[in-house]
């Protein structure tokens, strides 16, 4: 099962991309590699600029690469701080987790702001609030 974090779609895309990048930096990827993002995000049908980031309940293993850089991830945290989602102390702590975990595997959820995790919706809540389409209604439309 998963929970779903409401975010701006571009914010979710960047976060997913940069989380994957610290596990598999672009510099070490093969040109034929396909994978570029860590977790999925699903845009709202009625407002594609908003989405939910899907967060599995289980541990999301993130083996942080020894050659990784946290620069781009830090920019996301800085933007979250500007938005008021995290305090500077939490921003610094998140950057430190990423920087000091090189060569180790951690749960990717350790790199998410506490406010975002606290706002995660269950699948049922995400459907009820219009973030996700209702499978039953999808099937019924047009009948």
């Amino acid at each position: 099962m998963s929970t779903f974090i409401p975010l701006a779609t571009d914010e979710a895309e960047k976060l997913s991309r940069e989380l994957y990048a610290i596990a598999r930096p672009v510099s070490v990827r093969d040109p034929r590699d396909v994978t570029t993002h860590l977790v999925g995000w699903i845009p709202r049908a009625d407002d594609p600029a908003q989405c939910v980031l899907e967060l599995p309940d289980e541990v999301v293993d993130l083996p942080i690469h020894a050659q990784s850089s946290v620069t781009e991830l830090a920019k996301i945290y800085a933007a979250a701080q500007t938005k008021g989602d995290i305090a500077k102390s939490e921003k610094d702590a998140l950057e430190a987790v990423a920087a000091t975990s090189k060569g180790q595997a951690i749960d990717a959820k350790q790199l998410l702001p506490a406010k975002w995790k606290a706002e995660a919706l269950t699948r049922e809540q995400a459907i009820a609030d219009g973030w996700l389409p209702d499978p039953e209604k999808l099937a019924d439309v047009g009948r």
Binding site: V39, P48, P56, A139
Partner: protein
């Protein structure tokens, strides 16, 4: 095992490989995580991403045409392996791909191959977001899909083994310009095709691998399980699509089917009963399916 055929006595060299699709009309797309399907195809079957460091590698087939499971398991070690790319063996380069790690189907779990009846498979791992996307522009009014799949009973209703549409996010029930080819029929133990409503449903047993097929012939949709047909059901509306999604729905990735998929072959025409029956019989034999 891929079929082996001695075409003529030969003083040296291995017998020529003959794939299960070689005697059939050319497919629009042909995917298998388990075996080579056509003699003309000499590329990899899959690309795998391992969990230990997220490195990726193409995996091909052995001398018999079966997935090189040794290479796959060696690469994955004691970790997991996932499917960022499923190569199209038809020669049309309609590879299925998924760039998001969390959305990739699983091939190996803790060093052990995911299987259906001991054959390699792609496993949705009991979440509804797994998928592979491919491009295929088709304007004809007929098509056929044949797959080897297992359906579990803990996924969303109307989940999709494979769907097609004019574009990702397009709502096919509104524009009637696209169709789900193979999908779960509500919450029942069966699969069906869709053009507005479920069409031509045919039962399949939960958690049991089956050869499932769907065919639009321009007038009717018919579903098949292990070669046995459901009731042909009239379909209507214009037809035509540009994109497809394996193990999920082109509209949104929240309607992924939960289960397994080892093989999927698509034709842009309605296969004759004889040709459809031939590939179904081959799948039943190869995968040890009990009809």
């Amino acid at each position: 095992m891929g079929r082996l055929l001695f075409l003529s006595p030969s003083a040296s060299g291995p017998p020529a490989f003959v794939g299960p699709l070689d005697d059939l009309p050319a497919p629009a797309a042909a995917y298998s995580v388990a075996r080579r399907l056509l003699a003309a195809y000499e590329g990899p079957l899959i690309r795998v991403r391992r969990s230990s460091d997220n490195a990726e590698l193409d995996i091909g087939y052995d001398a018999a045409g079966d997935l090189d499971a040794t290479a796959l398991l060696t690469f994955c070690g004691v970790g997991d392996g996932f499917l960022p790319k499923l190569y199209d063996q038809s020669g049309n380069v309609r590879d299925g791909s998924e760039a998001t790690a969390g959305n990739q189907l699983r091939l190996v779990a803790s060093g052990v191959l995911d299987t259906q009846n001991s054959k390699p498979t792609a496993n949705s791992n009991f979440t509804s977001i797994k998928s592979l996307d491919f491009s295929w522009s088709h304007s004809g009014n007929s098509l056929t899909a044949v797959a080897v799949a297992t359906l579990t009973n803990n996924g969303p209703p109307y989940a999709r083994f494979v769907s097609v549409s004019t574009a990702y996010g397009a709502f096919d029930y509104d524009n009637v310009s696209s169709a789900l080819i193979l999908g779960r029929n509500g919450t029942t133990e069966s699969h069906a095709g869709y053009r507005i409503d479920p069409l031509g449903a045919k039962s399949m047993t939960y958690d049991v691998p089956a050869s499932i097929a769907g065919k639009f012939d321009g007038t009717n949709y018919t579903a098949y399980t292990n070669g046995a047909a459901g009731t042909p059901t009239a379909s209507n509306g214009n037809f035509g699509f540009a994109v497809g999604r394996i193990m999920n729905y082109t509209f949104s990735k929240v309607q992924g089917v939960q289960g397994k998929l080892s093989e999927l072959v698509l034709w842009g025409s309605a296969l004759s009963d004889g040709n459809r029956g031939a590939i179904e019989a081959d799948q039943i034999e190869y995968y040890g399916i009990v009809p």
